[in-house]
Symmetry: D2
């Protein structure tokens, strides 16, 4: 397996230089673009990795999968009163659809949807970010994971569009808590620093019918696990979910920090990372690596 991963790394490394590191906040713009790592964790506990798989990066939108999981554990089916399950067909931060659809975001993986999910968790936990950090540390089996305050403060400073979305949902009665407080927690979650190995392990429950081998915890039921994966497959890659299904064929979630997680149901959880993004905001080399992997092993679920 690691030989295959090395050949893939060799194949996609030359793409570095053709994308663009996220630069909407200074704290992310400074990342060295010339990095690539991949980790694969199998349901039987084997771990494979190549490249900078131990280098921490900002998980950003990948945190939305943790938030959704936490909310599903507490709210169950009720949560779908406040957020939809359909692809958006619009950029991840658009307000147009949100206004037409009276403040109910299309799915939990666009920003508006993740803000509503954060608002749900905010209503539930006394210290929402700490609850989330604890949850992530446990799933990853890494008690040292933490949020990067420089990044989260910078996100907060440039919060205007997310604030706009949160206030619009509040205007439609779909936001319970103080907007500023929820934004702080939301950005703290996005700013968690993890590496490929952490993320592959943390999401292994999605490949394993909801079971997390290293904690012995049934994180979600088997049915809920297929549901989360179904949502990831249809809405996890911003405006590129269809393309990802076409090229890779796995449930996945990307972040503007350059990470992408992908799930091979019943077999593996994968995390690939490379900071440069394509035009849809997904890791350029990461997408290419997952496509090569899918082509060579025939891992598409389809």
């Amino acid at each position: 397996m690691e030989e295959l991963l090395r050949s893939i790394e060799e194949k996609v490394r030359p793409l570095i230089g053709q994308g663009k590191v996220a630069d909407y906040i200074p704290a992310l713009a400074n990342v060295n673009p010339d990095q690539f790592g991949i980790a694969i964790y199998s349901n039987d506990g084997a771990l494979y990795h190549v490249g900078q798989a131990k280098k921490n990066f900002s998980i950003q939108s990948i945190s939305k999968v943790f938030s959704l999981t936490l909310a599903m554990k507490h709210y169950g089916e009720d949560m779908w009163q406040r957020v939809g399950r359909e692809p958006s067909g619009n950029p991840f931060n658009s307000l147009v659809q949100l206004e037409y659809e009276v403040g109910i975001p299309r799915n939990p993986f666009i920003n508006a949807g993740a803000l509503v999910v954060s608002d749900m968790n905010h209503s539930r936990f006394a210290s929402p970010h700490y609850a989330m950090r604890e949850f992530i540390r446990r799933l990853a089996g890494n008690p040292k994971l933490r949020s990067d305050k420089v990044v989260s403060n910078s996100e907060y400073e440039f919060r205007a569009r997310n604030a706009s979305m949160a206030y619009l949902m509040k205007a439609f009665g779909n936001f319970e808590n103080d907007v500023e407080a929820v934004l702080h927690n939301y950005f703290d979650n996005c700013a968690m620093r993890m590496n490929c190995i952490d993320l592959a392990k943390a999401f292994s429950f999605l490949a394993n019918k909801g079971y997390c081998r290293h904690t012995g915890e049934q994180v979600l039921t088997r049915r809920e696990t297929t549901q989360v994966n179904g949502l990831l497959a249809t809405s996890g890659l911003y405006d590129e979910a269809g393309n990802f299904a076409y090229r890779v064929g796995l449930p996945g979630k990307s972040g503007v920090g350059g990470g992408i997680i992908a799930i091979v149901p019943n077999r593996f959880s994968i995390c690939v990372w490379s900071p440069e993004l394509n035009e849809s905001g997904n890791s350029l080399a990461g997408m290419a690596a997952l496509e090569a992997l899918s082509e060579s092993i025939g891992w598409s679920v389809f």
Copy 2:
């Protein structure tokens, strides 16, 4: 297997009466709503069916999968210049997105996308509908299949919205042939009458790496097959693709005639039919049957 299918039929039959038969044209409105059939065709050639699985119905939008397959065989990757691969996030017949995105439909399964695909096939074949009919007859192993002229004429009479879409694409330079001529062929394809067994057999190649067992034909390559299934999974169920992934977890395509086809990759092709539709235009009892099937056998690809 047939016992399971019978128990599912028993479970979903009571739903009949809660949906609404498509009534936008008289020829469809007259269908007896109290019907249900299901057929499953396995890759090893076994066929299971219960209910009215031998009763013909109007395949309607399910024909879009045949059109796409035919176009992919001829145009390959080039076809994606003219139609996208992303979920639309809008009703199947909306013009809003089409105008904002300068005449490139989001995917081949919304009406605008299927019209472009029909336009491609129109440029290729001397008699586009006959080429399509031949292709479908071969895949289904049924040389008697034909289009219902009463239905296709009625569709043509009420063509206004589809004509509007086709002309809008023509205005953007994304429509090559005469609008009226393409519409006639498009409606003839939609009006094909087939039963559950025909459709399960016809789409068996999507469950079998592109190979059609009963004709011995490699319809699509293995890679193309996963690609079509990936597109079906993200865009096949109108505005309910996410919900279908969440509840059923299989690539699928529905039609307003009440049919739904679904693919269990590497194992089975399924067709379920019941004429009453839910609010998203998908067969109410059909969706419920597929969900029950998915829950009981754990067939979700996710």
Copy 3:
């Protein structure tokens, strides 16, 4: 007065070369851009003109005011069931609003609205274009006016977007007649050739409480006249109605042939013409001439 007009001509002539002649159909693209004319017709029958005021041009969208007038005479207030009276806030040929507002166009001066008005006149007259031509000839006092068949045929050939709008309205039940037939008449009306003097005289009734001095005909009531002028002031200049109110301050209507008519209520009717258009599709030199006229004589109604 003619001295003032000459000074204005001198002032705006240098703008020619900075705009762009309409080129969406070949028949219009061939017009010599270096032309400018203006005619002012006073309620007491005096006529002033400079430049190429006797040169015929394609009236295009200015014909929408004739169509509206004819429809108001026959349908009165009833006509507002089928077309609105509000500015569109969208390009003149957009379908987005039309879909959101279920086939009721915003006002009679955007294309969709003018098509509905043409459809009304089509239901009323045996030969709709001839009725319209007769009406225009009478108002202009010029029995030789006719439509340019080369232009109207060319418009018809490139009818795709207008056909798309008409079919969309038909889909919503707001179009009574055959789409192709109405389009033919609509394009024949747009292709009428008239000069500045013809148009200034033809619209003199809008400056004269509905009365046409040279025919002795009360074309509209006094109240209807202020209503038409009110609609022209809020919706007559495509996407530039607000700017026209700000810069010129008169009810007016433009056409892509480069003509603009403007009304000084109770005093004058004006027609200015120069083929090059600005980015909003209004005559560049024409707009400048009307602004200079408004500034120098203080003719703004505001």
Copy 4:
């Protein structure tokens, strides 16, 4: 004149009961709906009024005309870099257009536009609300005018949608100051309490070529005055500007407190007030009174 006003009052009083008092904040919902007042101030200093013309009410969006005037005095033509001059064709508080048009609001009279104008004034004055209050007191000739803190606090509490708009503009770089601070001043301006006589006098400069007779101040130039009136005529009545031009034919501005001001250029300024609103958010009896006035005296500028 007062006899005419009394006959109009008699005619429209029966309409009270058919509209609906603004109830989006409690402080406005409590107003007694059974009230009507009108005041007309002529350029020669005569004042006519009937009904509750001395009863104070919340001026709400009418304040947007004061804000625009103040900004025009300071920024001149430069201000149009940040706000457009076109009718919006959308509800007054929509974010859709604002997102498509990258944060530049359509005109200064929709909420987003007024927020940008408030932001401009905020950058200019040390105490923006006090500067505005001083300006209004002077124009109205009433040093006792003040803002209703109960109303402005209530507006602030329910600020979500306005906050959403302000943050969206900030995200596009079209908002300079702290969102919360500008909102406070904006709501304080909206919550000014004035009566019909105050408002008729305060806006007399718009009827008098920019000159305010009772202060002897040239508030705007003659040209700027026609420009403000032109914008009021095309964008002053929310989604009903075209209908207002059709029915009334005067530049005007309404507020959800039930007030409407209207200008008869070179002759009169008018303020009418009645708290119940029609479906577009404009005073029901107020609109009817202005239409009756326009019909009986023929005051339409068109």
